[in-house]
């Protein structure tokens, strides 16, 4: 008889969530995880707070840019900043991230030049940055696919002998982010199989933001998502995803297990998507304003702000500096996005293959000559129909 834990309130229960900060910002002790935050100094905490604030600003600016027609679409991370920034700060430089498409907070924590994230949403790039620069892989839009890439990548890190060497500068881990909805996809389960069987150094980080577009997590599961992993031989932890300290702690532990050869860990960060799924979405069709209000009162940024303030570690000068930094960041984003020009037509034929491909070459040649025909004969009959 193998119990799977206390009878829980379905997948939306807050049973058993690791929490280090209460919603009011009070620090509560935790026998297991206190150790993982013991060496966090105020500077580091403020750095997390800063990344959360800037991520929020990023969301606000990008949403505005979308409304102005500068972006085709945008997916906010609003409400998930603690889960993303907390886990992002637990990473070492040599670790690798395989994000989904909403992990702006992780990108910010990794130090990515954030304007690059917006190239995809502007429609000028399918990617937008060099994954090697910050070990931050491209966004993947096909739900769940990238969890297998992360697992395979982790198997590669393991093959490279960069797991369990004991050298903190060398041992590396991989983390992959996905949503509650994604857990229904076969690929995510296969990632659990491959990660388990290969003891891959990968952390499977599920942000349960309670929705897959309009569908609540109850359409994807009947028990907490984290329960799934142990059945694949992978330990799991549920954490309050609106608590940046707790998220940092559990991710740090999981990454350390991975780096030291202990294999994969599944993290479920229980949080709430405070905004719409994307700028195309209308959440009023499927959730109540009471629920939104309830979660607005559990804003992850407010929580860490209250904590830092409470312990006297949020001097006004820091706040002021951050405010102006955020303004400058906003300005920078707006300018950069407006300056992202349309790629040239023929560029669409580039990088289809790494080596020449006769059909691509022929089609490109045709296209260039066709384009040229409009330039050459301005009054050309076809040109007139444009």
């Amino acid at each position: 008889m193998i119990p799977t834990g206390p009878a829980a309130d379905g997948p939306l229960t807050d049973d058993g969530l690791v929490q280090l900060l209460t919603p009011a910002g009070e620090r509560v002790p935790h026998p297991e995880y206190d150790a993982w935050v013991a060496d966090l100094d105020p500077d580091r905490l403020r750095a997390m707070y800063r990344d959360m604030v800037l991520t929020r600003r990023f969301d606000v600016e990008a949403t505005a840019l979308q409304r102005q027609g500068e972006l085709a679409l945008f997916a906010q991370s609003l409400g998930q900043e603690a889960a993303q920034v907390g886990s992002g700060h637990a990473l070492r430089p040599q670790d690798h991230v395989f994000p989904s498409y909403r992990e702006h907070g992780v990108a910010q924590a990794r130090g990515l030049e954030m304007t690059q994230l917006l190239r995809l949403f502007r429609g000028v790039d399918h990617g937008g940055w060099d994954p090697a620069e910050r070990n931050f892989h491209l966004f993947t839009l096909v739900i769940g696919s990238h969890t297998l890439h992360a697992t395979g990548y982790a198997m590669g890190v393991q093959r490279d002998g960069l797991v369990g060497t004991g050298d903190p500068e060398r041992d590396a881990a991989v983390v992959t982010y996905f949503g509650d909805g994604a857990t229904a996809q076969g690929d995510v389960s296969e990632a659990l199989v491959f990660a388990s069987v290969n003891r891959a150094p990968v952390v499977l980080f599920c942000q349960n933001n309670q929705f897959a577009i309009s569908e609540p997590t109850t359409r994807q599961a009947t028990v907490p998502i984290a329960h799934r992993a142990p059945g694949f031989g992978i330990p799991a932890v549920r954490v309050d995803g609106n608590d940046v300290l707790a998220t940092y702690a559990v991710t740090r532990q999981a990454l350390e297990r991975a780096r030291s050869g202990g294999g994969p860990t599944f993290v479920e960060a229980f949080t709430y998507r405070m905004g719409a799924h994307t700028t195309s979405d209308d959440p009023t069709r499927y959730r109540t304003s009471e629920q939104e209000e309830h979660w607005r009162r559990r804003d992850p940024i407010e929580r860490v702000r209250a904590y830092l303030d409470g312990v006297g570690e949020l001097p006004e000068v820091f706040q002021a500096q951050l405010a102006s930094e955020a303004d400058a960041f906003g300005e920078h984003l707006r300018t950069a996005v407006r300056g992202m020009g349309r790629p040239s037509g023929p560029s669409m034929f580039e990088h289809v293959y790494a080596t020449p491909h006769a059909v691509v070459d022929a089609e490109r040649a045709w296209f260039e000559q066709y384009e040229q025909s409009f330039v050459d004969h301005e009054g050309h009959q076809s040109g007139g129909h444009r």
């Binding site: 193998i2 679409l73 909805g181 109850t218 979405d281 069709r285 499927y286 289809v352 691509v360």
Partner: protein, 362 residues
């Protein structure tokens, strides 16, 4: 060893939302109405759900939200969560369970949210849905419709603008169709649901909001048999100089090209293929035998695309009538490009007319 589970949820329980009940549905409209294609599809499904208690809709976000394109808007409120089912986020699971439901006598209509997300279900479609009737020597029938909003032109991000029709039409056992007008959309979706065969139903999402007249009272033609069925192409504009073969989103392009060409003295005949499998070669060949010239236009990449089959077959059937090779206009052999370049990628009016010029000059 018994492993107990702490499941407490039930499929009828949904504790996260406590939304007010939806207003009573408006009565089904009558007469001929000018409707966008999305609404025509909505009404077609509404009628099918009302008339056939075994029909049900399944997919991601098709319930309360009404689908990301709102094509199922209002149907959840009218028919309830057992007929308009929000499924888990797993396309193989959607099609796989739809197959099971069909075996039990239901007629599932699955919505795939975007073209690029049909691939996780590709195995179920190709190895199971397409082949089970054959495998069972006809004992099992699989009346499953897979609705896929397809094609580009909406400025979307990757995977949201693809045209995978050839990938389905190559597999025996599937019917592959695409309407180009609201009227056809209204009729064809009902025919697809009524068909005993699996139907891949490709909805030109870029045309969802273009309006057309729909006769809501016309009797529904049988799905198969007769010329208004799912198996026939249609000449949508008669002409004499060049036959232009199009379907789904490119029919409107072809019609505009015909206008433009007419202004310059060239008469295009436009054939709306409507069905990709079966391919109605007879209707196309009849046209090409008259015009002697043919251009096929689709959004999918030309290489190994639908147009190749049309060209090969028409050339075989009309060899001595052809004044020029069948030309093809379509997407390039690249992944669907970024939104800012899609109008260079898509077969435009100009590119179609360029091909018309080339075939005339041959």
């Amino acid at each position: 060893m018994t492993v107990t589970s702490d499941r407490t949820s039930d499929r009828t329980t949904d504790r996260t939302t406590d939304l007010p009940p939806a207003p009573a549905p408006a009565p089904f409209p009558t007469g001929t109405q000018r409707l966008p294609m999305a609404k025509a599809l909505n009404l077609g499904m509404r009628r099918a759900l009302a008339n056939d208690p075994r029909a049900l809709l399944m997919g991601e976000d098709i319930g309360r939200l009404g689908g990301v394109f709102r094509v199922t808007d209002g149907l959840f409120a009218e028919f309830g969560e057992d007929r308009v089912v929000d499924t888990p986020l797993a396309e193989s699971g959607i099609v796989g369970t739809a197959i099971g439901l069909a075996l039990r006598g239901y007629r599932p209509v699955c919505e795939i949210q975007f073209d690029g997300f049909v691939f996780p279900a590709f195995d179920q479609i190709t190895t199971q849905l397409a082949k089970m009737h054959y495998r069972s020597q006809g004992r099992l029938t699989l009346p499953v419709v897979i609705r896929i909003p397809f094609g580009g032109g909406i400025g979307a991000v990757e995977h949201h603008s693809e045209s995978p029709e050839a990938l389905f039409a190559h597999t025996a056992g599937l019917r592959v169709v695409s309407p180009s007008t609201p009227a056809d959309a209204f009729t064809m979706i009902q025919q697809a649901i009524a068909s005993p065969d699996p139907v891949i139903f490709l909805e030109p999402k870029g045309r969802y909001w273009e309006k057309g007249d729909v006769d809501l009272d016309a009797p529904l033609p049988a799905p198969h048999g007769g010329t208004s069925d799912l198996d026939h192409a249609r000449v949508v504009r008669p002409g004499t100089d060049v036959t232009v073969v199009a379907y789904g989103p490119t029919v409107a392009t072809a019609l505009k090209a015909a206008d433009a060409a007419a202004a310059e003295g060239t008469s295009l005949e436009v054939v709306d293929l409507r069905t990709i499998s079966p391919l109605d070669t007879a209707t196309v060949a009849e046209s090409v035998r008259r015009t002697g010239r043919c251009v096929v236009v689709h959004e999918a990449p030309v290489l190994y695309g639908t147009g190749a089959e049309v060209a090969a077959r028409i050339t075989e059937e009309c060899f001595y009538h052809l004044q020029a090779p069948v030309l093809r206009v379509g997407g390039f052999h690249t992944p669907y490009p970024v939104a800012k370049l899609e109008h260079d990628y898509l077969p435009s009016l100009d590119r179609l007319l360029d091909a018309v010029d080339r075939t005339l000059a041959f």
